[in-house]
Symmetry: C2
Subunit: 539 residues, 2 copies
Amino acid sequence: MSTEQAEEGAQPSKNALKKAAKEAEKAAKSAERKARQDAEAAARAAAEVDDAVGNYGVLPLNQSQTKTGEQRVQIESLNANSEGYSVLFRARLHTSRAQGSKMVFVVFRQRQATIQGLLQVKEGAVSRQMLKWVAGITTESIVLVRGTVARPIEEVQSASVKDAEIHINTLHVVSPVETRLPFTMDDASRPEAEYEKAEKEGIQYNKVLLETRLNNRVLDLRTQTNQAIFTVEHGVCELFRSFLNSQGFTEIHTPKLQGAATESGASVFRVQYFTGLAFLAQSPQLAKQMAIAADFEKVYEIAPVFRAEDSNTHRHMTEFMGLDLEMAFEETYDEVVDLLDSLFLNIFEGLSTRYASEIALIGRQFPAEPFMWRKKDQGGTLRLRFSEGISMLRGAGADVDDLEDLSTENERWLGRLVKEKFSTDYYILDKFPMAIRPFYTMPDPEDDRYSNSYDFFMRGEEILSGAQRIHDAPLLESEMIKKGIDPASMKHYLDAFRLGCPPHGGGGIGLERVVMLFLKLNNIRRAALFPRDPKRLVP
Amino acid sequence: MSTEQAEEGAQPSKNALKKAAKEAEKAAKSAERKARQDAEAAARAAAEVDDAVGNYGVLPLNQSQTKTGEQRVQIESLNANSEGYSVLFRARLHTSRAQGSKMVFVVFRQRQATIQGLLQVKEGAVSRQMLKWVAGITTESIVLVRGTVARPIEEVQSASVKDAEIHINTLHVVSPVETRLPFTMDDASRPEAEYEKAEKEGIQYNKVLLETRLNNRVLDLRTQTNQAIFTVEHGVCELFRSFLNSQGFTEIHTPKLQGAATESGASVFRVQYFTGLAFLAQSPQLAKQMAIAADFEKVYEIAPVFRAEDSNTHRHMTEFMGLDLEMAFEETYDEVVDLLDSLFLNIFEGLSTRYASEIALIGRQFPAEPFMWRKKDQGGTLRLRFSEGISMLRGAGADVDDLEDLSTENERWLGRLVKEKFSTDYYILDKFPMAIRPFYTMPDPEDDRYSNSYDFFMRGEEILSGAQRIHDAPLLESEMIKKGIDPASMKHYLDAFRLGCPPHGGGGIGLERVVMLFLKLNNIRRAALFPRDPKRLVP
């Protein structure tokens, strides 16, 4: 019975057959009509002289053969007041969308700015051929556009310029995309939260993994978010230098090729140097101290540092930018800590005021609580002793040793405790135990288990490490021996102090860490143009 | 007879004997008197309570144990108007010279500034012991001085502060010199011409060879000349960046560790990278072009570049600072050349105005005709075509090929011809032959034996090399193949152009060359803090 029923069920009913026949007939008629229309259109197009020739097409390769001197505009400078202006600009074709057969909407992009463009068939100016051709351009191609600025009927949601659009007159391709895009700009620009929301709603977005981004970094860097991130990074360097210049510092450049593996031989890259061997500097520490012994008084350097550590974490790279400084001081290393603190406050203030629009733009993809720091009227920057930090952690239940270094987990835990108690994402931990600091660290005069050294933290992660350094050759030598370093291997460095050297101190800041933590990007690779880690040497 | 006479002549006369006896008696009396005086002085000193104790001595090692907050002054800020002020400062003991037993003249130094100090025995304040102790301090020790500013009787010739001197009240050693100085500051600061003059006059100076200086670079860097050289170098970087920032450039940081030996594999350093191999970037060329393909539009970088060339010349180092920039342009690469030219003019102007005192100071040791360039009202910067340069050299009798590169000698020869004819130390040579430029150089659209590339020259030596680059992937690929480069080995670079890239160009400037040639230092090592060449990896 069930079989019969099944068989009957498999047989079409008479009514169904009739319906199908009717639909087939209808479809055939429709297809016929469509074919006729298409043929007519093709015939018309063929018969038609394309009066838009010259208004579109691929430009010949630019070998600097033509110079008109005509001014080209920046998208971001356009607004409702530009209405009626005829403009010429080069931009990426960000998106395009045909509406019917007579109109194409496009969005043009220049770095962080986008504007809507509109191409409409218009006799004697914009042909159907032109419209079709424009609609077919691969997104991310570079185009040269001539158009008239108009006020859009309503605010443009999909572009950064909201109160103006471009009515396109001519559009040429300057540089075409000649490959399949590995991902779209939209997919690459979506915040994490949107994926989660979409998943719940059953929408499927293409999620672009960090690995995919980094493998196709040139494309990835074009997102408005990334353009903004590297503008902020530029800002950090600029604020670092302008502050230190105002304080009488001299910029120096110290060699990255070293004759000996110093500091800590384990994590240094070896270089074949003609018939011999060289080592990549893992910091400018020794050279910048030698610059102090050479009377430069206050020096800074922004340069790559190299770490041959096989650390595959969110905050380690094998090559990163060190913002380093070193200064002679008069009485105590508080002078150095005060200067470093002023430097950071200057950077935070500068970023918050000068780069507010970039920070807001980045925040759309990487939402973050605004970075908090204590202003002067809130008691100024928090400075804790290492021992106080240990007490806070113990008070919260952590099992920590007095003289051991903080683990990454405990660093973050302490960051959270500090934030709860003092409402700051930025603080200083001073007087680290001597045993966990490098040999050149000056011991605390009151308790030689501790030292005159400090770390600075942002959102619970270390972003600066520094200290008063030993400027006395005999003490330096004995500290080297204590740490198992052969003083003979560091002769030139030691000699610098035998020639007389003022008391001094300094610190080294990780540029990408500052950017990552200020913007809460969660992975340091997002703050490096072309990051390097143990597994990545390209692109 | 002559013998007799001679013998008689050898015999003292009676009168002479009497005279000698008298003088001996006198000398004996004088010696006795002196001995008695010395003994008395010693007895007095021994008996005397040293009422200057506390006013001199070696300070305990600074471990930041004491904070008074007392202001310390900069020597260079003192002048006749400071008369009567009580001041405290830290400085190098530059020279010291005892005058009799009651006075010591010293010169104190802070970087480029020096001031004369005077220590006189004064009851209850400055004891003989103090005087003797101060006179015995090794020069180059770091001292802390308290004194009163006075007007000197006449202008002080031996110090940079001419209208003020310090009457010393207290003087303590902060950091002693614990080794024999390999050379004195005076010897290290003498101009070449002075040696030649001295030699003619039979005076023997210790000439400090470059090799000796570089082996003892920390000491060498302390000369006022070197302090000024690196202040100028700081200035070049600052002027470079501030100009480019004003033009909307973004500072970038590109990795020095590369996965493949690109550009020209021959001169690249190999790095052991965990279990694999990496290479040190010999320029940021590929990365900065990729930044243009990634929409950054205008980028610059100041970073070390590495060249594994076994060149032991006055102008080659294995590691030097590259001032690199790259920019998209709209119509022709003239936009890039114009910007680079404005950049150099901005640097020249800035150096001449802001660093005039440094340039004058350096000129005392390294005399140079002032650097000349053509101002706008003199027709602006000279731009010659490579072919015009060849014609000029031929006209002067040089045997040169149309399409071969200029030798160093011919470069300099052309520099002299240009200077004679156009009165400039700075000019641009454009349209270099295609064959002698890198594969990424855009061919000249009119004559493909030439290219859209240029060099900039200072005092007849190349200081910038640049070009319009090929932004079209197929053309780039075919140029690679022509030059014997496997396109597969540069996949990531090529892909950047397949994703669409605007027409662009740029250049790379050698920082130390600019400093060397502007100041006419004659050896590039003088413009590097710790230079690296095939034979030098220390200090």
